[in-house]
């Protein structure tokens, strides 16, 4: 494999040998150094990648923790909301009752405008009867109005007005000769009594046998009962 080293020209061979060794050594060193440097660069790059990955992972973990916190908060809030709803549900019946009652009271007081189906009762004096000597026998008295209003209230009328004047809880009606006075305002016949409420109930209670309707007829009063789809009454504060 190896040739015998030439003994002749030893001097020149020696320098040439040295030169070759130098070149080989330099090349080897270069390769080793370059390889070392490359590996180091690679490691650095890897390290930077790893660091980046690490930071991303930390970010991710952070976000996940935040997510968890928020989810917990959400759960908390939902729980609270459910509590509220539960308490609501408990109190709902009460509230509804209160609300209905308040509404009824307001209607009764006339604080809010009232509208809806209802009836219109018109009471008019009968025609003059020359045979009769007592005119009281054929004119409308406040007692007739009272009975109608009473009947209407009993049968659940929300609000009642006479000739457009809505009745309050403290309204008063007085007989004043040929006219009646309602809250200081005079109204002559005919008296148009309007009531908002369930029209069927109202009418049937008015027309009950031996009831108000029959009484009025027997008192020679012209009574007309009309069923209305929509009756509108302003609130009293508007009128005042």
């Amino acid at each position: 494999m190896m040739k015998k080293p030439l003994q002749t020209k030893k001097n020149s061979k020696f320098t040439r040998k040295q030169l070759i060794i130098l070149i080989v050594c330099i090349t080897t060193g270069f390769i080793i150094g370059y390889s070392y440097k490359l590996t180091k660069n690679h490691e650095n790059r890897n390290n930077s990648y790893v660091e980046q990955e690490e930071s991303y992972r930390e970010d991710l973990i952070h976000q996940q923790e935040r997510n968890k916190e928020l989810a917990e908060e959400l759960r908390d809030l939902q729980e609270r909301l459910r509590d509220y709803e539960r308490s609501f549900a408990k109190d709902e019946d009460k509230y509804e009752h209160l609300l209905e009652e308040a509404e009824k009271l307001r209607l009764m007081l006339g604080k809010i405008p009232s509208q809806g189906p209802g009836v219109q009762v018109t009471l008019n004096d009968n025609e003059y009867d020359p045979n009769s000597t007592n005119p009281n026998e054929y004119i409308v008295h406040e007692s007739h109005v009272f009975s109608v209003i009473n009947e209407l209230k009993i049968s659940g009328a929300e609000s009642i007005s006479i000739n457009g004047q809505r009745l309050k809880s403290n309204s008063y009606i007085r007989c004043n000769g040929p006219v009646i006075t309602i809250d200081g305002k005079h109204y002559p016949a005919p008296f148009v009594i309007e009531a908002v409420g369930d029209s069927k109930t109202l009418i049937s209670s008015l027309k009950i046998v031996g009831g108000v309707f029959d009484q009025l007829l027997s008192d020679n009063i012209v009574v007309t009962i009309e069923e209305k789809n929509l009756i509108q009454m302003d609130s009293i504060s508007d009128e005042a």
């Binding site: 494999m1 190896m2 040739k3 015998k4 080293p5 061979k13 040439r16 040998k17 040295q18 070759i20 060794i21 130098l22 070149i23 080989v24 050594c25 330099i26 090349t27 080897t28 060193g29 270069f30 390769i31 080793i32 150094g33 370059y34 390889s35 070392y36 440097k37 490359l38 590996t39 690679h42």
Partner: protein, 122 residues
């Protein structure tokens, strides 16, 4: 005697200081080239110690081995076979063998000198 060491240091500093970038695929070849260079270097030292050193064999072996190793690695990459392992194995074994031979020669030489010294003293 100091010339090889000087050359090695010079080459090392050159290699560290150069700023050439090569694609990552070729870094495998470089590692094999390192092995080949080291193998040839130790082979040369052994040959020198065994008095069978030859310039042409040394230089041609140096560059041919590097080229062969790189070529093998290249072929391996393109064939999907890890042929560079063969080169690493071969060079590694030879490296160890060379170093072992060098060690033995050095030890025997050292013993010879020792015996001579003893003879001289005696």
């Amino acid at each position: 005697m100091w010339l090889p060491l000087l050359g090695l240091i010079l080459g090392l500093s050159l290699g560290v200081l150069t700023d050439i970038q090569i694609p990552a695929i070729y870094e495998n070849y470089l590692s094999i080239a390192v092995l080949a260079a080291l193998d040839t270097l130790f082979g040369g030292i052994r040959a020198n110690l065994q008095q069978v050193y030859d310039d042409k064999v040394f230089v041609s072996g140096f560059f041919f081995n590097i080229a062969l190793a790189a070529g093998l690695a290249f072929l391996g990459v393109h064939l999907g076979v890890d042929l560079y392992l063969a080169a690493i194995f071969a060079f590694g074994v030879r490296l160890f063998q060379n170093i072992a031979v060098i060690r033995r020669i050095l030890i025997s030489k050292w013993e010879e000198r020792h015996i001579k010294k003893d003879e001289n003293t005696v």
